[in-house]
């Protein structure tokens, strides 16, 4: 077996050193009834690299590759071009095969990268600080709700109807066990977000208001008044960003007054990967840092006075605090954070803002083109790179038919909200820099034919 260096001769020599007659002697503590007498039945034996590659390639070929067709899916996962150097660098063995940096003297590479990542994320989200990553946006979102409960000592969270329905589901699952009360609703197919309604609902029991920006339909709304209203009632405003590239073009939630800003960082560096692994972004105001979940990297000095970095404030974490920890999270998403950070460094201020404008410009042009398809109506008026169309018929079968024709048209709201009849004609379309004019034309033409 190519990954096992011990030879039979080594094994025999080592067994004799440890005083065992056979390998079975080392498993004497396993009760006989639980011992398998040979390899697990019903599974194949080892295979060569070539054979495995053939097997996996055959499976991969059964999927429609986003980059090979006109592609318009978003709703929490976006296809962006990732520079070749990103994937090359994250495959450096010193990053790829390192562990969590618990021994900082020999992990400064990971630690400095995390410190840079935290700074980039905090600046992007407009928060004072950010942590070293969470699993993904949805888990970062419910961790933020839990954090708001600890800070405000209140148990009711108001979720905007524009929050990604998977994020709502995750929060509801957790709330069943933590006892938080969650108020949520499906969105309406209109240009208006529910910010005014959210403001009206904040009361003395509200721990937090959770609002997605841009929201699930692609809409963007000013959060400043909502932030002020939260502050007045001593509730926290949690903003959720599932498309971080947007923040190159629009104001950050932090600068509009959000207390905690979480996000999905997949757009930068990570790729679609059928939903994971992704990277959760988590930022907040300085005063809440000791209630944050997850790992934090901090600057310090070594015994010789040189600058260095360490994991810090670990008294919040499970390996120190055990049952009193702020979260049970241990492994996070370090390598995806690295990919995010490298992509962000390659872009820089100029590149991110430029990329955001390319996305927005292409999306506006696509929205206008698609709205010309007979019977199709553009629902969203203020948006970044994702918008919602109202079709004259149910969108879900249309999406399936278009997929059969080789066009991945977007995400139907019927898929996301199977119970909401009034949303079933809705189609959410994302347009990033990878979409060409020909792709838009292909979608418009195919849509027109399918709807005719």
């Amino acid at each position: 077996m190519r990954y096992l260096p011990l030879t039979q001769h080594d094994r025999e020599a080592m067994l004799s050193v440890v005083g065992a007659g056979s390998i079975d002697d080392l498993f004497v503590d396993v009760p006989e009834a639980a011992q398998l007498d040979g390899p697990v039945h019903g599974l194949p034996d080892h295979a060569s690299e070539l054979a495995v590659e053939r097997h996996m390639t055959a499976l991969a070929r059964k999927n429609t590759v986003a980059g090979e067709v006109p592609f318009f899916l978003g709703c929490g996962a976006y296809k962006h071009h990732v520079p070749a150097s990103v994937d090359h660098l994250i495959q450096r063995g010193e990053f790829l095969t390192a562990y969590t940096p618990y021994q900082p003297e020999i992990a400064q590479g990971t630690l400095q990268m995390l410190f840079e990542f935290q700074t980039q994320v905090a600046r992007l989200l407009g928060t004072d600080v950010a942590n070293a990553s969470m699993y993904d946006g949805s888990t970062a979102c419910w961790e933020a709700i839990g954090m708001a409960r600890r800070i405000t000592k209140r148990g009711k969270a108001i979720l905007s109807s524009g929050l990604h329905p998977h994020y709502v589901s995750v929060a509801k699952t957790m709330a069943k066990f933590t006892g938080d009360v969650l108020e949520s609703a499906a969105p309406t197919l209109s240009a208006e977000t529910d910010v005014a309604d959210l403001i009206a609902r904040i009361d003395a029991d509200t721990s937090c208001v959770v609002v997605q920006y841009p929201d699930i339909l692609g809409r963007i709304a000013d959060l400043s008044e909502l932030a002020t209203a939260c502050q007045a009632k001593k509730a926290l405003l949690i903003a959720v960003v599932t498309e971080p590239v947007a923040l190159g073009a629009i104001k950050s939630p932090g600068e509009m007054g959000a207390d905690i800003v979480v996000g999905e960082g997949q757009s930068l560096g990570v790729g679609l990967q059928f939903g994971g692994p992704y990277v959760g972004l988590f930022g907040c105001k300085d005063k809440y840092v000791r209630q944050m979940p997850g790992r934090l990297c901090g600057e310090t000095v070594d015994a010789d006075g040189r600058r260095g970095f360490v994991l810090t404030l670990s008294t919040r974490e499970q390996h120190i605090r055990r049952e009193k920890a702020t979260s049970n999270i241990c492994t996070n998403s370090g390598l995806c954070a690295l990919a995010f950070s490298i992509h962000m460094t390659l872009l820089g201020e100029k590149g991110l803002r430029g990329l955001a404008m390319v996305n927005h410009t292409k999306a506006v042009a696509a929205a206008e083109r698609l709205a010309q398809v007979p019977g199709v109506e553009l629902v969203t008026d203020r948006f970044f790179n994702e918008f919602t169309l109202k079709l004259p018929t149910e969108a879900r079968p249309v999406v399936r038919t278009l997929a059969e024709r080789g066009v991945l048209a977007g995400v139907s709201l019927g898929r996301l909200y199977p119970d909401a009849d009034e949303l079933k004609n809705g189609l959410v379309v994302a347009v990033t820099e990878v979409v060409t004019d020909e792709d838009v034309e292909a979608l418009a033409t195919a849509l027109q034919e399918v709807l005719a």
Partner: protein, 524 residues
């Protein structure tokens, strides 16, 4: 462009090296200092060329960004150099033995990486119509089949994002099952003192009260004490097997039977599954739920702290409560069971969704590649070699380091030592830092908590005998210095990119984001 660590290096730092010549850069040949991107990048630099677009009317309204973000950019050559230089300040499996107990730092096969990057896996959207992603669902289904078969369990939830998330999945299923049968009065989860910190944190998050289970002098769960504590208030136990002392819980089946008899459930922390994969099926030990760290047993890379992946296998009793979504095979067709279909198809008792989308697909492709490479025979050999390597380390070092459970029989995949016998004032930390100078990542320190100054060594099966012999000699020499009171060990490491770092300062005055005024200068 200046690549010197501007805030850090000062000429007098070389003084302790007894006359070694100073360098003006702070670099020492191949040991290179590297500044932060905020010190070397600029707002105007960009390493990406963007497509040209015709200007169009904005749809951003008054939300258009006005303030700068503050993101420095680097050109591609600068970026490649920055991250390459940073990478060289890391220790990694690719460089040498990484004996971090309980972490299973085994070789990460590169075929896994290649397969995960096939466009058919890497460039597929999670919400694409299911007919267009049948291959992705088939990967999940095949991996699920392997995991269920290897563990002898009933079913598996694939979506948890890491081990701790898997623990949460298992504990939530237990809670849902108890509620479903009107047993929500059971509020106590019993956890051995030797457990990973995530166990009590998880149980507490789910609203349980955590109580310790005592251990026997030989390092195993005290069955009599456990049985005595069981009762109508106990929801279940969380037990790591093999345990964190590196021992197989001989009484596991008896523990499970007793817990079931008392109306509770058994959660097994599967972090140490590598020791028994292919030799023991947890399902035969009465386990109700167990997470499997794909990033440990099944070789997906740790990546400097993730991403992981923590599928959870379930017994028949807990299976109905497993989270959404999951993949089912209907004839030749793979179906993704989400909220909608779950209701239609009588999966209504699922406790709900834990993540957006479907879990760590990128880790599934890697783990399946690894599993297919080894096959059933190879995986059994993995466990045997992992256990043999650990016993070899234990027996070859127990004359110089105290092995508190060395008399409890063979160890499993990891060897546990204590700080007993080190010279006055010398600690496990000193041994660990001394090992760094010898070119090794240290073992897990001060865990498990049940052993004073614990040193937990897990070599894994991907080390050769020659590599083990070298490591054993290195650890022996450091241990002997610690026993002899060699003062130079107190200031180790001497040859790493940094000397010991001031963690107290970092926690007392947290600097978590870069600021213009570097800490080292500000402190003067």
């Amino acid at each position: 462009m200046n690549a010197i660590n501007q805030s850090g290096w000062k000429p007098q730092m070389n003084a302790r090296e007894g006359g070694a010549p100073m360098t003006s850069t702070g670099n020492k040949a191949l040991m290179l200092e590297e500044a932060l991107i905020f010190e070397i990048g600029s707002d105007e630099t960009c390493g990406v060329d963007l497509p040209e677009v015709d200007a169009a009317a904005s749809r951003l309204g008054d939300l258009a960004r006005e303030r700068p973000i503050g993101l420095p950019g680097l050109s591609e050559p600068e970026a490649v150099r920055h991250y390459t230089r940073l990478s060289r300040q890391n220790y990694a499996i690719d460089l040498g033995l990484f004996p971090l107990g309980s972490c299973t730092m085994k070789h990460n096969p590169r075929l896994n990486e290649k397969m995960a990057r096939l466009p058919g896996f890497a460039d597929v959207h999670p919400l694409a119509p299911v007919d267009s992603i049948q291959g992705a669902l088939e990967v999940i289904h095949q991996l699920a089949h392997w995991l269920v078969t290897l563990t002898g369990m009933h079913s598996v939830a694939m979506s948890p994002k890491a081990g701790a998330h898997g623990e949460l999945c298992g504990i939530l299923a237990i809670k849902a099952a108890l509620e479903a049968c009107g047993e929500s009065g059971r509020k106590v989860i019993l956890v051995p003192e030797s457990a990973h910190g995530t166990n009590p944190a998880t149980a507490a998050f789910a609203g349980f009260t955590v109580e310790d289970i005592p251990a026997t002098p030989e390092g195993r769960v005290d069955l009599a004490a456990l049985t005595a504590r069981l009762g109508p208030d106990v929801a279940g136990v969380m037990i790591t097997n093999p345990n964190t002392c590196g021992l197989f819980e001989r009484d596991m089946k008896a523990i499970s039977d007793a817990v079931h008899e008392a109306g509770g459930f058994v959660y097994c922390d599967g972090a140490n599954f590598n020791a028994i994969v292919g030799r023991v099926r947890p399902g035969d030990l009465g386990i109700d739920a167990m997470h499997i760290n794909l990033h440990k047993t099944f070789s997906t890379p740790h990546g400097g702290g993730g991403p992981g992946s923590g599928p959870v296998v379930f017994s028949e009793a807990l299976a109905p409560y497993a989270p959404l979504p999951f993949v089912e095979k209907h004839g030749d067709h793979f179906v993704l069971v989400e909220e909608e279909t779950a209701r239609q198809e009588q999966h209504g008792s699922s406790f709900g969704r834990m993540v957006a989308f479907h879990g760590q697909m990128g880790m599934f492709t890697r783990a399946l590649t690894y599993i297919l490479s080894h096959g059933a025979d190879g995986l059994r050999q993995v466990a045997e070699d992992a256990v043999l390597n650990a016993n070899y380390v234990l027996r070859r070092l127990e004359d110089v380091l105290d092995a508190p459970f060395g008399g409890s029989g063979p160890c499993m995949h990891e060897a546990l030592f204590s700080d007993e016998g080190l010279a006055e004032g010398f600690t496990t930390l000193d041994v660990a830092k001394g090992l760094i100078d010898e070119g090794y990542h240290p073992m897990t320190m001060y865990f498990p908590l049940v052993v004073h100054g614990a040193m937990l060594v897990e070599p894994t099966e991907t080390e050769s005998k020659a590599a083990l012999d070298q490591f054993i000699d290195a650890l022996r020499s450091v241990a002997e210095r610690a026993k002899a009171g060699d003062a130079s060990l107190k200031s180790a490491p001497h040859f790493a990119p940094r000397a010991r770092l001031d963690e107290t300062l970092a926690a007392r005055k947290p600097v978590l984001v870069w600021k213009e005024q570097p800490l080292a200068e500000a402190a003067e």
